[in-house]
């Protein structure tokens, strides 16, 4: 079928409408509708990836209008991969979410699923589109849905965190929009490939320079690159856990994808690294982001907040890798989009199970958790090892590429920051393990030997199965990272 690219985006959109209607009339239908919509979308994404691997880039014209007039979906190896990541994480998270949603937002479950689907639609659209203005609109759909989601969470702090997120998010989106305006002023086109063709003759133009800086600033704000990260920790830790599990692995990664897409497809690596020569400054910025993220994570006393700052640190890895100016760094950055999405998803799945059972995840609440929730903790440990970068988990391989890239570019400070932040992550996670493993349960066990008498109280089976699958996929992605690099990333970069 030729319409798979459109199907990826449109199915969740239609499902969102239906789930929204169902929320008013027959609320228990919302969940199956969402599940079916995302399953179809995931299947289509898989088909598209296979098609792109065998027969090359797909150019899908919306409603048959030819570019540059019409909106085109350009799907090459990079975004086919990201599409599959987004669609499958959204689907599996939905399976794990049923119980959390029932517990946290039971009165508004139908609307939750409708907004969830819209959010996924936005992310998939951002990934699939080949049009600069369309990209802006879809980024705003994604952001709007996440504003509402954050407000649905913590009743005391959620709305305020969400408002602050809106202020910063709007500035980011507006900068991007202004950048697109400058590009349009100079090229008269909005189609990415078309703009790139026209730009190749305009490298000296200061308008293009301004456009480039504005676009990058906007995207950096949206992806929470240090020092523009202030909104992220609050927004992620106060949102409902079912949403935190999807926004944490996907939102920032998709924005990194957008940055790489703008760099490679629209402005061109020659322009960025040879004409502008900005590489060094941005790699330094990424280095600061890594160190700052890791250090701020050390200061946290709440598991969700700590993970949020680790995300800030991971963004530094990807931005640094992409701006290294060589193929190894870019390979590392793209591989890290996949790996980091999986790792963060695995971590937040475990946190989701903990929140489901414990309600709060301050470090004090985690005492004795290994005895109480052994399977959840097993998944958590595996994901933590992956974040630290222990082989054979996937986190090791992308860090390896990033370090190789840093050495090739002579950016030793970046490599050092990467190693230091890995060590800090190790300290952080072992601190958590220690609390969970050695410290006794806080109450109700008297003087008895607590370790042998803790009743096992696991999370629901749906969460455990998804958590197990994702944890296994961390190792699988690690073992097959050579295949992924050779079939997807290297052919894309050539």
């Amino acid at each position: 079928m030729d319409n798979y690219p459109a199907l990826i985006v449109i199915t969740p959109l239609l499902a969102a409408l239906l789930a929204g209607i169902a929320a008013w009339t027959e609320e228990r239908l919302s969940y199956p509708i969402a599940l079916i919509g995302l399953a179809v979308s995931m299947f289509a994404a898989f088909k598209v990836l296979m098609q792109v691997i065998t027969s090359g880039t797909i150019n899908y014209r919306m409603a048959g209008w030819a570019p540059p007039m019409g909106i085109e979906y350009t799907i090459d190896l990079l975004n086919a991969m990201v599409l599959l990541i987004v669609a499958s994480i959204a689907f599996f998270n939905l399976i794990a979410s049923y119980k959390s949603v029932e517990q946290e937002t039971s009165d508004r479950a139908g609307s939750f699923y409708a907004i969830y689907l819209l959010f996924v639609t936005g992310l998939l659209g951002v990934t699939a589109t080949g049009d600069l203005f369309n990209l802006y609109v879809l980024i705003e759909i994604t952001s709007l849905t996440s504003y509402t989601m954050v407000a649905l969470g913590d009743r005391d702090r959620g709305p305020l965190a969400s408002l602050n997120y809106i202020f910063i998010g709007v500035i980011g989106a507006s900068f991007y929009l202004l950048g697109v305006g400058y590009l349009y002023l100079k090229t008269g086109s909005l189609n990415m490939v078309d703009v790139a063709n026209i730009l190749s003759g305009l490298h000296g133009s200061s308008t293009i320079l301004v456009a480039f800086i504005l676009c990058m600033l906007g995207i950096w704000i949206k992806m929470a690159l240090f020092p523009m990260h202030v909104w992220l920790p609050n927004a992620y830790s106060y949102s409902p856990v079912a949403f935190a599990r999807i926004v944490a692995p996907l939102m920032t990664k998709v924005m990194v994808y957008v940055m790489i897409r703008l760099m490679i497809t629209v402005f061109g690596l020659d322009y960025i690294f040879e004409t502008l020569n900005l590489s060094e400054a941005v790699v330094w910025l990424a280095t600061f982001a890594i160190i700052a993220g890791a250090v701020m994570a050390l200061a946290q006393k709440n598991l969700k907040k700590m993970l949020a700052y680790i995300i800030v640190c991971e963004i530094g890895y990807m931005v640094g890798g992409a701006w290294m100016g060589n193929q190894l760094g870019m390979t590392g950055a793209i591989l890290h989009i996949l790996n980091d999405a999986l790792m963060t998803f695995a971590l937040f799945l475990a946190v989701g199970s903990m929140v489901y059972k414990l309600k709060r995840v301050d470090f004090i609440d985690l005492k004795g958790l290994f005895g109480k929730m052994p399977w959840t903790m097993a998944g958590f440990v595996l994901a933590a090892f992956s974040i630290i970068g222990v082989p054979p988990t996937c986190g090791f391989f992308s860090k390896w590429y990033l370090i190789l890239g840093a050495f090739e570019a002579g950016a030793y400070h970046f490599a050092a920051a990467l190693v230091i932040s890995s060590l800090i992550c190790a300290v952080l996670f072992f601190k958590v393990f220690e609390i969970c493993f050695f410290e006794p349960m806080p109450e109700g066990h008297g003087h008895e030997d607590s370790s042998s008498h803790v009743a096992i109280e696991e999370a629901p089976l749906s969460m455990l199965i998804v958590s197990g699958l994702v944890s296994i996929s961390l190792v699988v992605a690690g073992l097959y990272s050579g295949t992924i690099v050779n079939t997807i990333i290297l052919p894309f970069l050539q």
């Binding site: 609109v137 913590d154 009743r155 202004l178 301050d362």
Partner: protein, 138 residues
């Protein structure tokens, strides 16, 4: 000095948008009241919308509606020069951007109402104090 003046006068519309944008940004950063911040946000977005609207303009051009395009009385006169019509595309784009900004503003207002219901204030410093009173976070 005269160079600068001519530059400002020749492109006065763009300078106005820059000023508007800065006013909006200032309000978003410096104001203490959440509603004032929201107003700043709206000014900021409007400045960009105005910028787009004005890049579609051409001197001595008219609105892009082609007379007799569907074979009116005087079909021979319908030779079309793009120079005679302003560029409608940025305007159409801005219709979408206006929808986006209205949606954002709506969500933000709804959230402000929520914040007010919970804390009885919209001043940021007071909110910060209330948050401290609530105690350790979840």
């Amino acid at each position: 000095m005269t160079d600068l003046l001519t530059l400002i006068v020749a492109k006065y519309n763009y300078w106005l948008y820059v000023i508007l944008m800065m006013i909006g940004l200032y309000a978003m950063i410096a104001k203490n009241n959440l509603i004032k911040k929201l107003v700043g946000m709206n000014i900021f977005q409007t400045a960009i919308i105005l910028f787009y609207v004005s890049i579609g303009y051409k001197r001595d051009a008219t609105i892009p509606i082609i007379q007799n395009a569907h074979g009116g009385n005087d079909t021979h006169a319908a030779v079309i020069h793009a120079v005679d019509y302003i560029n409608p595309l940025p305007h159409v784009l801005m219709l979408t951007a206006i929808v986006v900004s209205v949606a954002t503003f709506g969500v933000a207002m709804a959230l402000a109402v929520r914040v007010y219901q919970r804390y009885q204030t919209l001043e940021e410093d007071e909110l910060r104090m209330r948050l401290v009173d609530i105690g350790p976070e979840k």
